[in-house]
Amino acid sequence: MGKIFVVKTQVGQEENVANLFEKANRRTGKIHAILAPKELRGYIFVEGEDIETIKTVIRHMRYARDVLDKEVQIEEIENFLFPPSAVANIEEGMIIELVSGPFKGEKAKVTRIDDAKEEITVELLDAMVPIPITVRGEQVRVLKKKEGE
């Protein structure tokens, strides 16, 4: 089994570095997998036979900066492999605040949740007429569990 190491990259170039590692593997044959989670900016995980291979590969690689000496255990990166749903902790009736988009800063009540699309439908609290708006799960922050609580 391979060992997992953290490679520092230029921010925004994580996917490019992953592709460059794949290309480099055609020469070395000692890299097994590369992981570039969206949540981590400027870092990727590279699984290979040993750290020396990775150090040699990044020496002339554009956008790759360094490799951390400490090996990472698979349990430590499990939360990146199986990212939780953006609507996992949202329930119908909750009061939320929209954190981006045209209604940023507005408070609203959750009326429907779409688990597959990770979208929620809300009604703005300050609106004169309740108009349902569908937003992405990442665009909201939970304020209250349920109205009145």
Binding site: M1, I4, H32, A33, K38, F80
Partner: protein, 58 residues
């Protein structure tokens, strides 16, 4: 690029060339599996085929 909703493999097609499921253009996280036999990550993700995958598909 688009990602298969079922197996998460990245493709340019609107249906997955491997499992036939519809693909989505809304995906996050990037993963390259080169050697699934010797990879801990591939084993954890239950992936048996080398290729490029998305971590999360909506």
């Amino acid at each position: 690029m688009r990602a298969c909703r079922k197996c998460h493999i990245l493709t340019t097609r609107s249906t997955c060339p491997y499992c036939g499921e519809a693909t989505s253009e809304h995906w996050q996280g990037y993963m390259v599996i080169i050697d699934p036999v010797n990879s801990q990550i591939a084993r954890q993700m239950k992936l048996k085929m080398p290729g490029k995958y998305a971590l999360k598909v909506r």
